[in-house]
Amino acid sequence: MAKLIFVFLTLIPILCNSFTPEKTSDRRILVLLDDFAVKSSHSLFFKSLQSRGFDLDFKLADDPKIALQRYGQYLYDALVLFSPTIERFGGSIDAAAILDFVDSGHDLIVAADNNASDLIREIATECGVDFDEDTSAVVVDHSGYAVSATEGDHTLIASDDFIKSDVILGSKKIEAPVLFQGIGHSLNPSNSLVLKVLSASPTAFSANPKSKLTSPPSLLGSSISLVSVIQARNNARILISGSLSVFSNRFFNSGVQKAGSPTKHDKSGNEQFFTELSKWVLHERGHLKAVNVQHHKVGETNEPSIYRINDDLEYSVEIYEWSGKSWEPYVADDVQVQFYMMSPYVLKTLSNDKKGRFFTSFKVPDVYGVFQFKVEYDRLGYTSLSLSKQIPVRPFRHNEYERFIPAAYPYYGAAFSMMAGFFVFSAVHLYNK
């Protein structure tokens, strides 16, 4: 019995651990489905997650037993909502619970679809993504559709307008267009965190394919986003897709030929696109950490408690990127450091040694006060780094000024010659007879 309790006690920290990039194995993802048929029809996507070490927990979205947290601890590291028609989740989950889940730094993948429920729309709106308000509207593209012998209504789109970011979509170029069939959304212009990953072509529009177009469609052209991502300020990442079928085996395996293009690809870009995108969303790429911030005067090694104006100093920081398995040195030429007091006095790009160390040197400005070394690294697709270190800067001491100024020699000369004259005069005046 005692042994049992001991085993249980040693298990507690393992059971209670939540998401950290340091912990690769056994990361748990809750997958909420409308129907278990999705598990089979979208198995390639799920398999790619499982093969990368994720532990998927499939549940029906209206299962009354589902819960995201127990005793204040989150049970999962990420949530996949493949339940576009769900009106109310089972158990204790609702839109607020999902947003809390994201607010605590966990990742979320949401797939909407034709007749997406208000609940899914609400979650998307909270993330800065507005799906077309017309519930019967789908994205139609009469010029950028995927050529198909059996789909004549041009709702099956072949889109190749990807975000230009290696960190989000991987360094390997996606050659084949991505097949998409579903609803479009627009991004809230006041939300600076949401990014369009897959955009529709300029000829696309969002409307009900069965009715006539009498008023301008609310969503049109390349402002329609098909797939978007959000990186919250706490580095939680969210993927929102206007279609569930883009993740399906049928789309993964299907060939694709974009209308007007002579090349026919044997396999659509969906598998590569969504595998790479899911790597980004689940923090297997683009997650940075900064360690070992150092600064000192040139020629010294210890960090001073104060700098004097016009000192030459060296600043260095080590930045690593999470590769899914280990921390790899981050290589970039746009990391910048600011020497900051109310506004940056010095802003300098750091050089790097390709081993993760970024360094530079500069002269302390001739303004004294309390400064900060600031690294605000905010790049497309990367988690943002925000480092700051406070350091005061003092003026010269009284004895640190220049003492023998040649320009002043005439004044000294005059003073000392007068003093010598005084000595001579005093002697002459006293003892002359």
Partner: protein, 690 residues
Amino acid sequence: MATILAKFLLLLFTISICNAVTIPTPISDSHRSAALQLFHGSSSSLEETYEALRVFEILALENKPDVSSATCQNVVENLGSSSSLKDLFYALKVNGILKCKVDRAVFQGTASRLKATVNDASTLVDIYYTIGSLVLIKDQAPNVDVLLADADGTFHSIKALSQSDGRWRYSSDNPESSTYAAGLALEALAGVISLASSEIDQSRVNTVKSDILKLFDSIQKYGTDDGTFYFDEKFGGGREHQGSLSTTSSVVRGVTSFAAVTSGKIDLPGDKVLGLAKFFLGIGVPGSAKDFFNQVESLALLESKRVPIPLVLSLPATVYSLSKKDQLKVTVNTVLGSAAPPLTVKLVRAFHTDAKGSAVIEGKELQYDQSSGLHVLSVFPDNVDVGTYVFVFEIVLHDSGSENDYAIGGQIRVPIYVTGIVKVSNAEIAVLDSDLGSDETQKTLDLAGTDVVSLSANHLQKLRFSFQLTTPHGRAFKPRQVLLKLRHETKYEHIFVVRNTGKKFEIILDFLGLVDKFYYLSGRYDFELTVGDAVMENSFLRPLGHLELDLPEAPEKAARLPPLPVDPYSRYGPKAEIGHLFRAPEKRPPQNVSLAFLILTLLPFIGFLVGLLRLGVNFKNFPSSAVPATYAILFQLGVAAVLLLYVLFWLKLDLFTTLKALGFLGAFLLFVGHRILSHLGSTSAKLKSA
């Protein structure tokens, strides 16, 4: 009610993702390649091995992985030992396909063991495995005695679990009834009939048949006129939930095996059998092995002549191009893709989706092409223009006697898209001063080309743009998407729908009424025309040119331009470097000038010394006695020391050290100064008085 609705939506959704094509196509090569991927490698259990082997058998795959030796060993081990009923059952099933070398004695032993437990088995699942195993032994070792002595009793004990609605319970102490269990029970009953040593009472068999019909009454269907049927399990606690696929395939397995052993006919409605086939085909290619097995095996059973064989009408394409002169092709196959019996496909009717009343084609037989196995409508009649149509097909079997052997369904409606190249002509663009318009600014555009126009207008003028669209057959064409887009320099876009009157599409932009909408933004507007339709092969997006618009100043209350989306690439780039501008050092003269002035400042001192020498100074007043002389020397040394201290203050000392030293020196100097001065004073006083 809400949950039923939700489930209905959910099912609709399922079919929409699994089956975007309205007509399911039979099993094809994509299934075969998927099967090789799914059932690749070793299976952990005999059940999975059986599923893999059975799929390979049904799909007649050539290059399947060879696992027979290892699996046979596993089979023999399971048959010999007293393994669980389930393992035994699947071991026999695997053996049925692989035909391993198993001793007759082993079969004999297993059979007698099973027979002994038949009557003890309490749950339906146990009975199912026991009976199933015995039937398999009967097939594999014909001379082993497997016949049940008390078949009637076993039959009765299974039948006792049946419910009034055709469903079954898993065991007598479990009140919950299940459709999945019905499939198991029917299969077990079929086994009992084939194992019976004496004929089972026909009336009992007939009650089971009526049970089957009742079960088919509870069949569910998708949508309204889709014609897809399936069985679903009601949600129940306790047992593991079976999906609709496994439930339906269990029923199909049970019904077909029961139909195989009974002599009389079961009057299964053909449309429901066809509906089941559509359900299985509608799933597409499942991603999990279990689903794949259920789908393929059920389809194979439906084709096994025990129930009406469903025939599936499918079209390789539903989009036909008039410009390419495509032929309408129809194939009729069994669900597994094998050839259908001789038949004719009739095109009953075809009508435009907008004009349901008037048919464009009526009562036409498609020609059968022997070599390709396709039924072909060689040319579309002239009255078929571009547009969306619904074609209604019907299958007519040549051998009218075999009608009951096949489930062909009634009329099959297929949406067909007929596409073609639409002619764009007579494009004109003009800036008008009034509604009547002056033709001076009117410009014609060739919309097929790339030429652009540049126009200018003010807020009192109007822009008129018009063009015509005609179909290949010369009729007016109304595409769904005719949009004119004006984009201001600020990237703000205005969209207008171009409406048509007859053949002509025309839009008049009255800028006076639009100034508010344009946010009083003058400047260059680029305009683009988008014309697109599902049946238009030459849908286009074409820049038309630009318009210099001169709008009045915005009044104070006018709405402001809403925020535009920011380009994400610009938001994230590195910032420009900032360097601190240091205070410039003060300007100083060159060193030579300073030295020259130093020398100049020393000149008066030298002049002073020269003057003193010229005057002929002497030191005759220096005290001659020892004590005053000492004071005089000390006094002069003190003055020199003070002056030296000043020099040192300049060279290295700080103020505090200097003042300290000066204090001591000052006191000393005061003392000796007083002494020598008073001495000199008294000397000169004596001199005067003398």
